[in-house]
Amino acid sequence: MKAELVLMGKRVDMAARTRRRALVVLIYSTLVVLMAALFVADHWRTTGYYLVFATFLVNRLFLGGYNFGGLIKPFNGKPPQRTEAPPFLLLAMHVYPQEPVSSEYRSDEREMQMRDRAHYQAYQALAVALAVLWLLSSWNVFRPHLLAWIPASPALLIYGLVLATIVVTLTLPQAILLWTEPDMEELSE
């Protein structure tokens, strides 16, 4: 995990756990508000995709893990594949130079252990989410009267839950790591 976040060229110290927890709360609050706003806009008909794109952006800027950038090192431990020659970009071709894996991207054995533990914890939450989705889908198809009390369409409710589950899948392991890792020590110690 990195001790600081670089935003718009400014370095933000994130070594303290309280700051990282505040960031996690802020990110999920923003995503919930965004999801609600997109529902109001067009019931996620087209804007549902925007929520997923926003989640990728959150990973890129703040969380990392499944993206380069952000506080958590890439989960696969590999550096970004740099394209050295700009003209190849226009042709959508990429040149992947052979570079050694730098320590900036590679996690050590403790970090790998924490990564795996965070995924285990996230898996449990996602299993519960999938069980709820299965139950709602089952009722929607076979016992629609059980969902009659819902003001919106049950299908829309299930779609919203799927959307939320995707957001959580993409962010929860990183959020768990940011939440649980203790304050980072000074390098000079």
Binding site: S103, D108, E109, R110, E185, L187, S188, E189
Partner: protein, 105 residues
């Protein structure tokens, strides 16, 4: 300095002498981390006993300090080095000096 050679075993349930050995040799956490090819935070976790190292890392630490693994890690609290080296009878004075040294480190 964080060390757990005689106090709490930490989350790993292991006692270790890494902090003492590092102080003795005047090595910073960063230097040790670079030598072991791990993050410097991991050295802190090891010293506090909050992380149980892999066998490979434990052996690398033993190689680095030129000591057997059991001189660095233990399931039981370590006796002070002076007591181990000089024996219980002669160690009273040395024990006092060493505990002072460890506290000051």
């Amino acid at each position: 300095m964080n060390e757990n050679s005689q106090r709490e075993p930490g989350e790993s349930g292991l006692y270790n002498r890494i902090a003492v050995l590092r102080a003795e040799r005047g090595i910073s956490r960063q230097q040790l981390a670079e030598a072991m090819d791990v993050n410097y935070q991991t050295i802190g976790f090891l010293e506090r006993g909050d992380y149980s190292p892999s066998l490979k890392l434990a052996l690398s630490l033993a190689d680095y300090f030129g000591l057997p693994v059991e001189a660095i890690f233990s399931k039981e609290p370590f006796k002070p080095l002076s007591q181990q080296v000089y024996g219980a009878g002669r160690a009273r004075l040395a024990l006092h000096t060493e505990s002072d040294l460890e506290e000051s480190a």
